[in-house]
């Protein structure tokens, strides 16, 4: 085992552990930490694949922005961010059935690939500057400049759209419960208690779940 082998094994085990933690944790904040672990593992693998620029971008954008955004939203929602009690049995059966079916499909695909007669070839020595900031920057500001500028436009539009969708109108204090759902979705304050609207009690939620099916 060389250093590279150990690096690959550690990074992939870390990434897989983080992914499993993301999907299996009951608390969403643990899921966010799992996502962070996966992202760091994948950034390490990028380093091994001669993608130094992408490894840095991965850490800055994902670990620095995306996960933090998730954590902000989880903290904003408070205890409501967790899992509620599942009420509809049929829905649960459908969810777990779909998950098991996809897992089965993946194992089937892996089995078929392992039976195929492939002749793996070891990575060649990468030319100097492969994946460096200079190399990627030359492409981004050369032949790929139009997609690059379109990506900036997309980010601007996404930011404006996110603000437009997420911003409640604070002056709409007294919102009747009978207002149209769309109006409540886009105009109301975030927390129901700020709208002078009491949170539904556990019994009310249960009654709604039982009657709304």
């Amino acid at each position: 085992m060389t250093v590279g082998n150990v690096f690959f094994v550690v990074a992939s085990v870390v990434a897989l552990f983080g992914a499993f933690m993301t999907i299996a944790s009951r608390s969403p904040i643990r899921s966010a930490v799992g996502l962070l672990i996966t992202i760091v593992g994948i950034a390490a693998l990028f380093l091994m694949l001669n993608a130094q620029f992408l490894a840095a971008i991965q850490l800055i954008v994902y670990a620095g922005a995306v996960v933090v955004l998730f954590v902000f939203v989880i903290m904003l929602l408070g205890p409501d961010a967790g899992d509620g009690e599942g009420t509809v049995v049929r829905a649960r059966v459908a969810r777990y059935g779909a998950g098991a079916f996809f897992l089965l499909l993946s194992f089937g695909a892996a089995h078929l690939v392992s039976r195929a007669d492939l002749s793996p070839t070891r990575f060649k020595i990468a030319p100097a500057g492969h994946g460096s900031v200079e190399g990627i920057g030359t492409l981004l500001f050369g032949s790929d400049v139009i997609p690059f500028e379109l990506a900036t436009a997309l980010l601007i539009v996404a930011v404006v759209g996110a603000i437009a969708v997420a911003r409640g109108k604070p002056h709409v204090r007294h919102q009747s419960k009978s207002a149209s759902p769309t109006a409540r979705m886009f105009n109301g304050p975030l927390m129901a208690r700020d709208a002078q609207r009491p949170l539904p009690t556990k019994a009310e939620r249960a009654a709604k779940a039982a009657g709304g099916v």
Partner: protein, 105 residues
Amino acid sequence: MSSLGYFVEQYVLLAGALFTLGCVGFLVRRNVLVQLMSIELMLNAVNLMLVAFNRQHTADLNGQVFAFFIIAVAAAEVAVGLAIVLAFYRLKSSVQSDEADQLRH
């Protein structure tokens, strides 16, 4: 065993496992936040695959540039997705995806 990490197949296998975990998480969980994180897992798996194939094919850097654009789109997607989660929470006081049944009635 001494060549772990130097063949593209190993990265494809790892990316497939990560993608499978993300997809199963998206299908099984009903918490919208965790579903969004699962989407991020799948996008990361695809990125890993693109970069691994680019390492195999060293003539150009198109795979890495593609992964760069995927990261940009994923950042935009997560910002809008979380805004929609907040709007949904404002409507339903919940982040469970099976509460999103407004079109059923």
